[in-house]
Amino acid sequence: MRHRTRVQGKGRDNRLMDATRTHLLRNRLLPVVSIAAVAIVWQLVAQFIVQNKNLLPSVTDVLGAFLVLLESGRLASDFSTSLTHFGIGVGAALLLGIPLGMAMGWFRDMDTAANPIIEILRPVPPLAWIPFAIIWFGLTPVAAGFIVFVGAFFPVLVNTYAGFKGVPRLFVEAARVLGCTSPGRLIRHVALPAAMPSIATGIRIGMGVGWMCLVAAEFFVGGRYGLGKQLWVSYSLQQMSNVVVYMLLLGILGLAMDVVFRWYVDGKLLKWRTGEVA
């Protein structure tokens, strides 16, 4: 009797393990299969239907172009230039957007004073700032960074503001009763941590918008290097395979930054939110 129970139990364990294993396998395998399927269809269409490298380079064309670019060694400079533009823009957006959003969310007068200005400027597309970026900063990395800044600034500002507006009154009162009474300390010890999830969302959206602005910024104001710049240069030389290489690099790099950011925020900064329904 005992023996049989054990055998049964073991059988169930095995079945459970099999189920988890197939589940894992599926989760790993399906993305690979779908990417491979798209690549194959793309290759077939490009090679047998379009048959024109300039209209649609095939997968192998793109891979070849990538290897040539890799060998030339210029990709590293393109990467670092683009990251410099991006870093300037996002850095400035955080430096200005977070404090301003905090002040507007916390102090009613700040909100009333700054809100109309923000609301008028916010719908202006970042690319509409390109003429002034060039006039103010010349054809420099700062000008490209400025466009990224305009794109990243508003999401950071608006989400910080919303986070500070939404600090539960209960937390503020609990802190005041415990002896945390000055506005500075309330902001530091209560409002800032309470608003952190919202601020992190703002940074993430801002980084996304900033990254999209990067390509256009580099079209107009970049120097010799940069992923966006090279995309544009490749187009003017009709090297459409290279254009695809730069498109994919922009996509993958953007994704990588988002993944790293999310990993940091969810795993470290907002560990206390595990189990909460956002």
Partner: protein
Amino acid sequence: MSKLSIDRVSKVFAKKQGEVVVALDDISLEIEDSEFVCFVGPSGCGKTTLLRIIAGLETATSGEVSLMGAPIRGPDPKRGMVFQEYSLFPWRTVKNNITFGLEMRGMPKADQDSAAETYLAMVGLEQFREAYPYELSGGMRQRVAIARALANEPEVLLMDEPFGALDAQTRNAMQRELLEIWEKTQKTILFVTHSVDEAVFLADRIVILSPRPGRICDTIRVDLPRPRERTGPEFANVRRYVLGLMDSCRLPSKI
């Protein structure tokens, strides 16, 4: 001199279109050191408002509350408060919630840690010192909230329906624990509830408030020895008596 003195406190809230609501009307009460006072009354009788005025989170329209002779002007760690809703800071661990007030006071880290251990032990949550609030049950959260308030060593502990959101069993257990803590620390406790059962189980004195405008309708002293037996006949008698008073307080003739 009594510990806490509530002297002719009234509170009027202004609503839109010049309408006014009298939440509290001419409340006077003297509370002794180490006394356990429960405020009962139907919702809308202003009992929470009164507690918030004592905490310094609201200001009285007229009248004054003073603690050991000093009038109350704003929130102060001398008056600890436990809220009805879960008010723990979710971004801080249990231990760091408890040390929040001590941190604000600038107490050295080592002293903070030893204080945290004392109060963790008092509420029986030593194993949860590094847990975040989301990992705790409702009863545990309120225990941490009590520990957090006590860590500041307040003169008075204000409790605004702290067990209102808990299930009946947890609630009874928390009431017993609170009495143990009260006996150990000898704090003066002001406890708001709408449960007569809770008030009779806990209080030295029960203050019955009447609704709209909130007035003190009656106060009764509960002389039953502790621990009180909820199902005993004396308990039932006091309970019936308080319920009867609350009913008559509702009648316009009494107001």
